[in-house]
């Protein structure tokens, strides 16, 4: 058997090949791990989208994804609006498993979670721990979202109750005054004046009473049907309400639920009133868009002069997020919600010198 002696130069080459090979293996391993991590995170996000950010459903359906990344067992005590339940997924296997605890709580929603990870999975910054962290983060976000939804609904309900209460008190006041006036009025001249007033006021009151009953029976009727009205007049009405000045161009007479459009404009322009110290005069342009679907676009443009910080578009429509001391941070959120009901949209754009809100409303142009 012939012994092959390698020269120093050849040893060098062999070493290089071995190093190269081990580097290749390492890269391959990390690539596999990264792919695994990527897949697990994508699955979590996709699940969350599918179940529409529902915290409870997300928790119940995420176990297979966690199990695939070295989670041995997940136990939890859940309190969900007064109801309690305990769940347990997987089985504790052996010694060396490490336990992690998480407590998430928002109002009447609470999760006390214990997760067991294998020894391999419990390493610092292991894939398992990164996936678990993401899982907890998404769950927490879903709870926050649910909390906001509840608050918004409560505000809407409050507003609805206030509307009905306000209207009923006004109707009661009208009836009381009318009854006393009819009983008290004596001379013919006064009677004539009363009848003249009633000719103007009674139809309006009848209309209002009917609208109030309609609201009590089915508030969503606001979004169906519609009446023909001038957008310029409606915008001017809202500007006057808030004491805002604007240069207006364009016009469209549209058929839409007037009350809903009024609320949208109040919510959008209300922001300019809340920050009236910061904004210069507005420019409002009303444009008719005749494509496949007829629509109207209302562009509200303001100079950014005086606005200290750049506005964060994704925050603008977030409920309860506000920079105004007096505002609740619901205006733009509600405007967008109302627009959804009308199949419309609102978009915010900003440049160096100005920013604008564009409201698009599909409608019948008269």
């Amino acid at each position: 058997m012939e012994i092959v002696y390698l020269s120093f130069y050849e040893w060098g080459w062999l070493g290089m090949v071995l190093i190269g090979f081990s580097l290749l293996v390492t890269v391959f391993y990390f690539r596999l791990q990264s792919k695994r991590l990527n897949q697990s995170l994508s699955k979590l996000y996709s699940l969350n989208q599918t179940i529409n950010h529902d915290a409870l459903a997300f928790f119940e359906q995420a176990w297979p994804i966690l199990e695939a990344v070295d989670c041995v067992q997940m136990k939890a005590q859940i309190e969900w609006f007064g109801e309690r339940k305990e769940v347990c997924y997987g089985l504790a296997k052996g010694i060396g498993d490490k336990q992690y605890s998480f407590n998430l709580e928002r109002d009447d929603m609470r999760f006390d979670i214990q997760l067991l990870l294998t020894k391999r999975g419990s390493g610092i910054e292991s894939i398992s721990r990164l996936v678990v962290k993401t899982f907890i983060y998404i769950l927490e976000q879903n709870l926050v979202l649910k909390q906001s939804e509840i608050l918004t609904s409560q505000k809407r309900l409050e507003r609805y109750q206030l509307f009905v209460q306000h209207e009923i008190k006004n109707i009661a006041q009208f009836i009381l005054l009318l009854s006393e006036q009819i009983q008290g009025v004596e001379d013919d001249e006064a009677k004539l004046r009363l009848v003249n007033r009633l000719q103007d006021t009674l139809p309006l009151m009848a209309q209002r009473a009917s609208k109030t009953v309609q609201q009590m029976v089915k508030p969503q009727l606001e979004f169906t049907g519609g009446e023909s009205f001038s957008l310029v007049k409606l915008v001017s009405e809202v500007l006057k309400m808030y004491g805002l000045k604007a240069e207006m161009t364009g016009e469209a007479v549209v058929t839409l639920p007037r009350y809903a459009v009024l609320e949208i404009l109040k919510n959008v322009l209300g922001n300019f009133e809340d920050h009236s110290g910061s904004f210069s005069e507005l420019k409002i342009k009303i444009m008719v868009q005749d494509s496949l679907i007829q629509s109207v676009k209302i562009n509200i443009v303001s100079s950014s002069e005086g606005v200290r910080t750049k506005m964060i578009p994704e925050r603008l429509f977030e409920p309860f997020w506000t920079t105004s001391e007096s505002g609740m941070g619901l205006g733009l959120f509600l405007a967008r919600e109302l627009l959804k009901e009308l199949k419309g949209s609102i978009e915010f754009t900003q440049s160096q010198n100005e920013f604008s809100f564009g409201i698009t409303l599909p409608c019948q142009i008269d």
């Binding site: 507003r159 008190k169 009381l176 005054l177 006393e180 006036q181 008290g184 004046r193 006021t201 809202v238």
Partner: protein
């Protein structure tokens, strides 16, 4: 005698019915549908008593608009008596009404008799305050003193309120204001500067 009542209510139906009841009670009526309209009327005409609805657009269900009118009146025309009429939550709205200087508070639905009684009382107090000023040179100054702020802050508030009132009474005539307050004109100018008072900013 000026017996004009300004009715401030965004609801045209109620405004009309309230106007009729008050006209039948012997009062002249001017109507306003919003905060801005009310302020405009108060600037242009001599009004002694205001009947004010607290909830008006754009805030029909909260008292913001009514409070804004009350604040304006209390700052520019403090002698005017405001009777608040509202369908909103009586406890919190009456608190706000009192805080911002309303003379009386009525909760809807109110009877014609109770309404007329409140308006009559408001006119009576307006007239008596006028007599007190004319006969005894006494000008009532109402301030909201925050306990714990110190006496100097309270003195400044009273001083500012008094100079505002007299300037308003004299239509910003410095000479006449100085005469009424028995001050030198320079002192009046000093106070105008100290409290940044301007004819227009009185609004």
């Amino acid at each position: 005698m000026n017996n004009t009542v300004l009715i401030v209510d965004d609801d045209p139906v109620l405004r009309s019915m309230l106007a009729f009841s008050l006209e039948e009670g012997g009062y002249s009526i001017i109507e306003a549908a919003s905060r801005n309209e009310a302020i405009e009327v108060l600037r242009m005409q001599s009004i002694h008593v205001v009947l004010l609805d607290m909830g008006m657009p754009p805030n029909e269900y909260t008292p913001e608009e009514g409070i804004a009118v009350l604040e304006w009146i209390s700052s520019v025309l403090p002698q005017v008596r405001v009777v608040v009429l509202t369908g909103q939550d009586s406890e919190s709205t009456s608190y706000d009404a009192l805080k911002y200087g309303a003379f009386d508070f009525l909760e809807k639905p109110i009877s014609t008799e109770a309404l007329l009684r409140a308006i009559k009382r408001a006119f009576l107090f307006f007239e008596q305050a006028g007599k007190l000023k004319a006969q005894e040179g006494v000008q009532k100054v109402q301030i909201d003193a925050v306990l714990g702020e110190g006496v100097k802050a309270i003195r400044n508030k009273a001083e500012e309120k008094l100079i505002r009132q007299v300037l308003s009474d004299t239509e910003f005539n410095v000479h006449e204001t100085a005469r009424r307050l028995e001050l030198k004109r320079e002192n009046v100018y000093y106070l105008i500067k100290k409290y940044s008072l301007q004819r227009d900013s009185q609004a």
